[in-house]
Amino acid sequence: MARMKFLVDAERCIECNGCVTACKNENEVPWGVNRRKVVTINDGVVGAEKSLSVACMHCSDAPCMAVCPVDCFYRTDDGVVLHDKDLCIGCGYCFYACPFGAPQFPQAGAFGLRGKMDKCTFCAGGPEADRSDAEFKKYGRNRLAEGKLPACAEMCSTKALLGGDGDVIADIYRERVARRGVKGAEAWGWGTAYGPPPKGAAPAAAPAGGKS
């Protein structure tokens, strides 16, 4: 059974924002809302700059679902977290709960009016008739119902952003890392993500009690 996920390879992302543009265009996302954004750390530091494309990660245990007071979220059979805009009251709880800042609120009106929540749908639309005008207006294009993958992942020029079944894209990433010459336990974990500790640095203190 497919569990649809995104995976971002920080070694490959060149901060071109092609994914952001593809998403905005494909789903005709309203002004002021970015379902996907590129985050850069160590900006301008030669050799240390890394970029990541971030959107809804379609969590297996989604905090937005847990906090929604009107229970407007649901998870599809293929693991995509979606919501019903007809139920959403725009309270913003999901925005506070989400660690990725995925839920967005259009602010088209006066006096700080906050509209109904909008977020990445994994290009899977929402609870309207598939590929209908109503679905497109509320949620954007339903590419999964067209047999396609999300536009952001398919548009990514360096294939830094992978989208699809978690097992399949994890295999792709694992093979890539192995081809880079990283093997065994080094292929994953803190050292690979953030580099080895500087020479002469004291090793991390063992947690109290000797157990982790």
Binding site: D71, D165, R179
Partner: protein, 79 residues
């Protein structure tokens, strides 16, 4: 003064007539309350797009897996 009080009392009394009957919708707390959604594989494939057998989840997953592997240039280009 008395007529104003009478008009105010009449308005308050009339406001009661405006009350709309409300009934609670039976719901299960913590469960999705919205409209049901259909599955991607239940759709007829587009003529010019990827093909699968309508209603057959396995065939939809098979074609989308091929598409996922298209993101893997080591397999797509070098083989």
């Amino acid at each position: 003064m008395r007529s104003i009080a009478l008009i105010a009392a009449a308005l308050v009394a009339l406001a009661g007539c405006m009350e709309i009957e409300q009934t609670a919708t039976p719901s299960r707390q913590g469960k999705y309350q919205g409209k049901p959604d259909s599955t991607p594989w239940s759709n007829q494939p587009l003529a010019a797009g990827p093909q699968w057998k309508q209603g057959d989840r396995a065939s939809w997953e098979e074609q989308i897996k091929k598409r996922q592997l298209g993101q893997h240039e080591h397999r797509r280009i070098y083989q």
